[in-house]
């Protein structure tokens, strides 16, 4: 099912992009993620279903939507990016996040391209069509989660609070040591990490840096894939760095500009989450609407019962509001540097909360069958629940956003 787009200025290209992405999400991602949801995390990454879906996504270019066509990326405009992310989220939050974070090393390299990054990261990533070049965002640590994103809060510059993965200069190289936690998306399947680390601990978290790290370097080790409640087809897992030597050209951001780049990263990531979880909310609403028109109770379709109609209209309004906010925030922040990060945070918090509430209502409308795996709403509910914590816990993000008010 599609939706009426209130943007009357959508181009033919946008409409086509929406149709094509929806088809991919419906035919490939949704069925794959439902099957993978039943498996353990080790089985997921051994499964042909997982790799076929990943490869198809790469083949169609969904891993490169943020990267300019100069480098071979899809180079979509911000509205096109939102359309794609919503459709991917509609099909599967798991794969939407996997494709989204996969581009991080190449996307950030494209902001400060040098010859080495162009030849070894940006162009090979964009040209990859078989999911053999997968990126991840290594920021979360056993002792640090959302606090790593809270630029502007009191703790961020506190010299006694800093991330445990450290980089120290050794000649022309950097030596990296430490551990990223189980929540690194694509963590155990990624070939490259965009790694957030500490360079100058005396500056606290503000003394960080961002380094592109090929994960086949000596000293890199992975943990087991994480077994979790929602988004079970999204691979997540620890990465350990034991004196990993990385050339200086791969340290794309140093402590001089780290704070600004964390802000930019959060603005991009949270805006993307808003778009994806608008898609999740829409998926749950559509499932509930379709079911309500088929299921007969008390001699008439559920939809004909006034309280169900009321609930469905409330869900519809929330989905439309989520799309309106997430589109506006994403388009504004991908058109303005520095971004207004609190609008991206508002989008992430509102849309993930909306997805959770709409999925919860969908389970309620379906009744007992909504709790079963016969319908996807219970998965959508679990996926949405995870998103209230993923990419920054909503409670903490709101405190960070409030600093900008």
């Amino acid at each position: 099912m599609s939706y009426i787009d209130l943007n009357i200025e959508l181009t033919d290209e946008h409409e086509q992009l929406k149709r094509e992405t929806h088809k991919f999400a419906k035919d490939i991602l949704r069925p794959a993620s439902l099957e993978l949801d039943k498996m353990g995390p080790d089985e997921v990454i051994k499964s042909d279903i997982y790799w076929k879906a990943m490869k198809k996504g790469f083949e169609l270019g969904y891993h490169s939507i943020f990267i300019p066509d100069t480098w071979g990326g899809m180079g979509l405009d911000p509205l096109g990016i939102h359309i794609v992310l919503e459709e991917l989220g509609w099909g599967s939050a798991d794969f939407a996040v996997a494709f989204g974070v996969s581009c991080f090393p190449a996307f950030f390299s494209s902001m400060m391209p040098n010859e080495k990054l162009i030849d070894e990261i940006i162009e090979p990533f964009c040209a990859n069509t078989d999911a053999t070049f997968i990126g991840c965002w290594g920021i979360t640590e056993p002792d640090h989660g959302t606090d790593t994103l809270c630029v502007g809060t009191e703790h961020f510059d506190h010299p006694e609070i800093c991330c445990q993965v450290r980089a120290t200069k050794d000649g022309d190289d950097w030596i990296i040591e430490g551990q990223k936690s189980s929540w690194v998306s694509n963590g155990t399947v990624a070939t490259h990490a965009m790694l957030f680390l500490t360079i100058d601990p005396s500056m606290g978290m503000a003394g960080g840096g961002i380094c592109i790290v090929p994960l086949n370097l000596p000293g890199v080790r992975r943990g087991a894939p994480l077994d979790k409640m929602g988004q079970r087809a999204l691979n997540q897992g620890e990465i350990f760095f034991d004196r990993v030597r990385v050339p200086n050209d791969y340290m794309v951001v140093d402590h001089e500009s780290y704070t600004g780049m964390v802000d930019l990263t959060l603005a991009t990531a949270n805006a993307s989450m808003g778009a994806m979880f608008t898609g999740v909310a829409r998926a749950a609403f559509e499932e509930a609407l379709a079911y309500s028109k088929e299921r007969i109770q008390g001699g008439k379709a559920l939809f004909e019962h006034q309280n169900i109609k009321h609930k469905l209209f409330n869900m519809f309004q929330k989905v439309e509001a989520a799309r309106a906010l997430s589109r506006a925030a994403l388009i504004y922040n991908l058109n303005n540097t520095p971004p207004l990060t609190h609008y991206s945070i508002a989008s992430k918090v509102f849309c993930t909360q909306t997805a959770f509430e709409v999925a919860n209502d969908a389970v309620q409308i379906l009744g007992g069958i909504g709790l079963s795996r016969e319908y996807p709403v219970e998965k959508l509910f679990r996926d949405a629940r995870a998103a209230l914590i993923e990419d920054g816990a909503n409670d903490s993000l709101m405190i960070t956003g409030a600093h900008c008010l």
Binding site: I67, M111, M112, G260, M261, L264, T337
Partner: protein, 131 residues
């Protein structure tokens, strides 16, 4: 004291930089293919420099519509083209502000790459400070 003594000198140096860039056929073809109109809104000294496929390099007002606008000071422009000011630092320190689709901003970066090579000689020729 500002690097550029006045707008006229800035136009001469930066306008000259971009004009020489467009004389490079490979760069020109890529620039025309990209179809991106860039406006540098410069302050201290105040001025505008346009790179527009429809108009070429224009110093001062132009009736084109920018796809990407970059706000930057004359001093930071000088440091940027000398590679003394890196883009992430410039963004982080709010020394550059941009308006325009991020993919277009990023697409522009490799097109302007040869300007980095040409700028030190041009700056030297005009007696501008180089570390």
């Amino acid at each position: 004291m500002a690097v550029f003594k006045d707008t006229e000198q800035m136009y001469e140096v930066l306008g000259g930089l971009f004009t020489s860039l467009m004389e490079n056929e490979a760069v020109l073809i890529k620039f025309l293919d990209a179809k991106i109109t860039i406006l540098y809104e410069i302050n201290d000294p105040k001025g505008q420099i346009w790179l527009a496929p429809s108009h070429g390099v224009v110093c001062g007002p132009c009736d084109a519509t920018p796809d990407v606008t970059m706000w930057i000071s004359g001093d930071d422009c000088h440091r940027f083209w000398l590679k003394e000011l890196k883009l992430p630092v410039a963004i982080a320190m709010r020394k550059i502000k941009t308006k325009g689709s991020l993919p277009k901003v990023l697409k522009m970066l490799p097109l302007l790459g040869p300007a980095y090579d040409a700028y030190p000689d041009i700056a030297r020729k005009h007696g501008l400070p180089i570390k």
